[in-house]
């Protein structure tokens, strides 16, 4: 299913900035590598094993060895390991939480095309970034965690029981074994429709992936089926980490990235164009069913850009996002910025000097997104943007956009 978006800008500011850093806002960026090069990814690969990572990196290059544009990759080294070597860190006796910052460490790579004005030469800009949640910890005792870990275990127990029955009753073929397993699932969870559906679906999937082979006896087949399921118990650990980080009220992320320019798309001709490090915190206040209805966010970052001049931004900001009612989410955002702009100039005596400009500015913006119906929404941003040199046509910030989504409507109601 494809989503298409188009946007009508009724009034807009011209973003032909003097300095090279246009990054705004206080929100935590999902992909630091794209954030640093100030581009939007068309697609992002998230490889889950070393082979897929290698394939993703190879796809980042074209036939002539140059970088493909708009390529994004993000991977977490911890989860690339062989799943049999992944286990939960050891909690100390009585410990309710285990730190999991290392598991959240992720690296990202981004590539985008960059064309010089009045030139046919197209170069590339490459971003390399990382992000980590230093305070991430896993609650090992929550019912959710245990359920994730043991649901598969329950099915394995049932299959093991059927394995014993098979030995007693001399069951020989896959259908008889699967029927027995299904009967046991349905008996054991006669009053729990969710569990019956879950286990039967999972069983079908595992049997499809692990069919009985010719000349294989029932015991050997059932053991193979169990082995496949235990592998999934390990995989469910990654979901456990995701669930924990997504459900948390407090989130703290530290991220950094660097951008490299390849003006002629050649490895030999490149230079460091941007470096940045930033941290963001957010605290969400929950609504029903764990859907947060509002959050407070804070951000601090340092971003430097190196071209024929050097621009460094020191930003700190806060924002509040919330919903007046479900169809009208909004955010109010304030970012203070001090920039230091260094460039070559000539003084009154005609000497070449390194001029340094320092200035403070800020951005204050209100953004709202009004959902007209399921597929159509109207969004607007209004406020004050940064002063020059970041904007060259005044600092009024006013954007109205119409957002329409094709192809997401469900066929069945």
């Amino acid at each position: 299913m494809k989503n298409f978006f188009f946007c009508i800008l009724c009034t807009c500011i011209v973003r032909n900035s003097h300095a090279q850093i246009n990054i705004t806002g206080t929100s935590s960026q999902a992909l630091p590598a794209f954030f640093i090069i100030d581009k939007e990814p068309k697609s992002v690969a998230t490889p889950s094993n070393p082979r897929k990572l290698a394939a993703s990196i190879l796809n980042a290059f074209d036939q002539e060895g140059g970088f493909n544009p708009d390529v994004g990759i993000e991977f977490a080294p911890y989860w690339l390991r062989d799943s049999s070597r992944i286990s939960l860190p050891t909690p100390n006796p009585g410990q309710q939480y285990i730190p999991a910052a290392f598991q959240s460490l992720a690296f990202s790579i981004a590539s985008a095309e960059e064309k010089k004005i009045n030139s046919d030469i197209s170069g590339r800009v490459i971003g390399l970034g990382f992000r980590i949640h230093p305070a991430l910890r896993i609650n090992v005792s929550t019912a959710q965690n245990v359920r994730n870990m043991t649901r598969n275990g329950t099915l394995i127990n049932i299959i093991q029981f059927v394995s014993l029955q098979a030995a007693f009753n001399n069951m020989l073929n896959q259908n008889a074994i699967v029927t027995q397993i299904r009967d046991q699932i349905n008996i054991q969870y006669a009053t729990d429709l969710d569990a019956r559906v879950l286990y039967n679906t999972y069983l079908d999937r595992m049997v499809q992936k692990t069919p009985m082979t010719a000349n294989e006896n029932a015991t050997a087949y059932i053991q193979r089926l169990q082995d496949a399921m235990v592998m999934n118990v390990n995989i469910s650990q990654e979901k456990l980490y995701d669930n924990n980080s997504n459900r948390r009220k407090f989130n703290w992320e530290v991220a950094g990235a660097t951008g490299m320019r390849f003006p002629t798309n050649e490895i030999g001709f490149s230079y460091l164009s941007r470096v940045g490090i930033w941290t963001s915190v957010s605290y969400s206040i929950g609504g029903n069913n764990n859907r947060r209805v509002c959050s407070f966010n804070g951000m601090a970052r340092i971003l430097s850009s190196f071209t024929d001049s050097i621009t460094t931004n020191y930003d700190a900001g806060i924002s509040f996002t919330g919903k007046w009612w479900p169809s009208l989410p909004f955010s109010l955002e304030f970012v203070g910025r001090r920039y230091v702009y260094e460039y070559d100039d000539i003084n009154q005596a005609g000497d070449t000097i390194n001029r340094i400009d320092r200035k403070n500015t800020y951005r204050l913006a209100l953004t709202a997104d009004f959902a007209i119906d399921e597929d159509l929404s109207l969004n607007f941003t209004f406020g004050r943007d940064y002063d020059k040199p970041f904007q060259t046509s005044g600092n009024l910030l006013g954007i109205i956009g119409l957002n329409y989504t094709f192809g997401t409507r469900n066929k069945l109601r």
Partner: protein, 116 residues
């Protein structure tokens, strides 16, 4: 990942009163315990505490306790399960341990207890 398997067959001599089954896995281990009396499931939980019934109706039946245990103690790599049976006259505790060859490894315990 290899799964270790522990298969045991035991005897329990029934006394009088009601038969009580308790079973649990070791500390810091994820585990699911399921029990069957003959072919009828008795229940599934992280730890079981179940009254099976008057012993006079249980003679000759087979109690099957199966547990899938995953060790999260990276320092020990050992899993364990304990099954406790008691009635008004007798009681018996069965404890099994099994090392796993890799961190986070799993063990399936299949314990058949013939009630006599």
């Amino acid at each position: 990942m290899p799964i270790e398997r522990v298969n045991k067959t035991e005897q329990y001599e029934l006394g009088t009163g009601s038969l009580q089954l308790r079973a649990w896995v070791g500390y810091n281990q994820f585990g699911t315990i399921s029990a069957w009396l003959n072919q009828q499931p008795l229940g599934t939980a992280n730890s079981l505490d179940k009254t099976i019934g008057p012993v006079k109706q249980l003679s000759g039946k087979r109690l099957v306790v199966i547990s899938t245990v995953q060790d999260i103690m990276a320092s020990t790599n050992t899993t364990s399960i304990t099954i406790e049976l008691s009635d008004g006259t007798n009681s018996k505790t069965y404890t099994y341990t099994q090392a796993v060859s890799v961190n986070g490894g799993a063990v399936i315990y299949s314990i058949i207890i013939n009630l006599i």
